[in-house]
Symmetry: C2
C-alpha cells in the first residue's frame, strides 16, 4: 500500500515523523496533514508559522493557511488571521462549506469563535523581541525590513489513494498590516488532484502568485512528467521568465508528490525539506538549484542540523 | 494598429464605449482598464461592483479587486475592502510595489488613506433596502441567502501590444463577514501575459478557485489555441470535472483576448459580455453554453437590453 508525506523546510520533521506511522495504519491524508502541521504551528521556535511566527510592522502576528482535498477539490483558506491558535484546523473546517470558504481578517475570528476553535494571542515573547530588534536595526542600519517567509506547505498521500495539501504561514516579517501572500491562494500556494498529485510552495508570495506554479506542477504531472521533472520545468522556466521580465525573481521553492508516492522539489535558493513514504524513511534533505534547470538534493548533515538548532534557539540581546 | 477591450457582463458597456476611442488614440492598457472599470464601480444601479454593490450578511459592503500588468507581471489586489471608493485604482496602485501587493481588511483602509485615495461608505440606499428585503425573505420564505456574484473582469490590449487585466466585485450577496472570492486571486480570477493574452472570470468564486481557469486559458492560448477554443476547452472540461467529483458546479463564465485582439468566452449559464476591437464595433452580446463544449453567442436584442434596464432600476417595496 503506497503512502507518503512531503513538506517544505526542516520544521516539518517532527510532525511528519510522528504522523507517518498512523498514515501507514490507515489515517486519512486530511487528518494526517492537519495533525502534522499543527505540530509545526505549536512549536514556538519556528518563527514563520503559527505561535512564534514573526509579526507585521505593527507588531501583530497575522497568519495565512489553506487546505485542499484532492478527492473533491474542497478548499478552505484564511488570510490575515490574528488570533486563531491553529490556522490549518480552521482552513480544513472551512473546506467543508459550499460557500464562504475563504475568509480574511475579523471574519475569521467570528467563524472560529462560533465553531469552538481555540483563540489565542499568537505573539510569543521571542517573536516580540525579534520585532523590537528589527525595528532598531532598520532605524540604525537602514536594513530592508522584509525577509523570512518560510511557509510550511505539505502534500500527503494516504493508503486509500486519496491526497490532500495544506499550507500555514506568518508571511513576510515586517509586512504591512493586512498583507497576504501566496499560501492561501489556490494554484499559487497549493494545488491537489488525487487523480494526479499535489504541490505546495514557499518563498516570496508576491512573486509566487505571478506564476501559479502549484497548479502548473500538478498539470505537468498529469501530462506524464515525473514529479521531479514537473517541479524542475515549472520552477526554473518561471524563474527565467521573471528575470527576463523584471530583472530579478524572489526566493521560490516547491515540493510535490504524485499519487504513486513519487516526489519532486525545485528551488532557486538553498532550501530544506522533509519526505517519507512507504519505501523511504523520513529524512531531512537540503536542496539547491543545480545546472541546466536541475535540482541538487542531499540528506542534511549532522553539522547542518546542529547549526539549524543553534540558530532557531539563539539567545536574543 | 491592433487594440481591444473585452469584459464580463452588460455593466461593462458604458466604460468600454467611452474609453475605446482613447485606447485607439494611444492610451495605455492599464489606464484604459482603470478608467473603464471605475465607471462601472461608480454607477449605483450595478449591484455587484463598487458603490451600490450588495452587502455581506451584516449589511456591510466588502469589495474585492485586482490588477495585473501583462508586460512585467506586476499584480496588485485587495479583498474585503470596506470603504475605498474605487477598488480598481487601489489595486492598480499596489501593483507598483515589490512587497505587500495583496492587502485585506483594515490594512487596505490604511494604505488607501496614506496614499490619498477617496474613502467612502460604499452602501447605497438601494443596496441597503435590498439587503433588508432579503433578510425578510430568508426569515419568511426560507430562501437560500446566496446569489448574485457578478464580477466585472476585463482584458485590454493597447496599440503598443501591451496587455492588462483587472477585476472588481462585491462578491456573493449575503456572504459571511470577510468572505472573499476568486476575483482578487491570480490564476483564478484573472491572468495576463502580454506575450500571449489575458483572461478574467466571473461566477461562484468558491468553485472558480478550484480550477485556476484564467491561468489555464492563457496557457492554452500559448499552446496555439484560438481564444475561443481555449475558453471552451478550459471551462467545459473543468465544469465536467467538478460535476464528476462534486455532483454539481456553480456558475462560471470567462472572457479572454490574445495579443492579436482575437477573443473568446465560455460559460455554463446565460452570460452577457461586451467587446470592441480595432475591427469590431463595441457591442453587448449574450452567451449560453452550446452543444459539445461550445458556446453560443448572439448580439443582445433590444428586448433583452430593455428588460435589463428595467430590472436594475425596478422600484423596491
Amino acid at each position: 500500500m503506497k503512502y507518503g508525506m512531503i513538506a517544505t523546510w526542516r520544521m516539518a520533521y517532527e510532525g511528519i515523523i510522528d504522523t507517518i506511522p498512523k498514515l501507514k495504519d490507515g489515517l486519512s491524508c486530511g487528518e494526517a496533514l492537519v495533525e502534522s502541521i499543527k505540530k509545526t504551528e505549536d512549536y514556538p521556535f519556528f518563527k514563520s508559522v503559527g505561535f512564534g511566527g514573526l509579526p507585521n510592522e505593527e507588531g501583530i502576528v497575522e497568519l495565512d493557511a489553506a487546505f485542499m482535498n484532492g478527492d473533491n477539490f474542497d478548499i478552505g483558506a484564511i488570510a490575515g488571521s490574528r488570533n486563531v491558535k491553529n490556522p490549518i484546523e480552521v482552513a480544513e473546517n472551512l473546506s467543508h462549506e459550499r460557500f464562504n470558504i475563504f475568509l480574511v481578517g475579523e471574519g475569521i475570528t467570528k467563524y472560529a469563535t462560533k465553531n469552538n476553535f481555540e483563540i489565542k494571542n499568537m505573539l510569543s515573547d521571542r517573536a516580540k523581541r525579534m520585532w523590537e530588534i528589527r525595528l532598531e536595526d532598520i532605524k540604525n542600519k537602514g536594513l530592508t525590513p522584509y525577509d523570512g517567509h518560510d511557509t510550511i506547505g505539505m502534500v500527503v498521500l494516504d493508503t486509500k489513494g486519496s491526497m490532500a495539501v495544506g499550507t500555514s504561514s506568518s508571511g513576510l516579517f515586517m509586512k504591512k498590516e493586512g498583507r497576504i501572500g501566496d499560501s492561501p491562494l489556490s494554484g499559487s500556494g497549493f494545488y491537489c488532484d488525487s487523480e494526479i498529485g499535489g504541490a505546495a510552495a514557499t518563498g516570496l508570495g508576491e512573486d509566487l502568485m505571478k506564476g501559479c506554479l502549484s497548479y502548473e506542477i500538478v498539470r505537468l504531472m498529469k501530462e506524464g512528467l515525473h514529479p521531479q521533472e514537473a517541479a524542475n520545468k515549472a520552477l526554473y522556466d518561471f524563474d527565467e521568465k521573471l528575470k527576463k521580465l523584471r530583472g530579478k525573481s524572489g526566493a521560490m521553492s516547491l515540493v510535490c508528490m504524485n499519487n504513486q508516492g513519487e516526489w519532486g522539489i525545485a528551488t532557486n535558493v538553498e532550501f530544506s525539506f522533509v519526505v517519507g513514504t512507504d519505501t523511504e524513511e523520513v529524512e531531512i534533505y537540503v536542496a539547491n538549484p543545480g545546472p541546466n534547470k536541475t535540482t541538487l538534493v542531499e540528506v542534511a548533515s549532522q553539522e547542518w542540523l546542529d547549526a539549524y538548532e543553534k540558530r532557531i534557539k539563539k539567545p536574543l540581546d
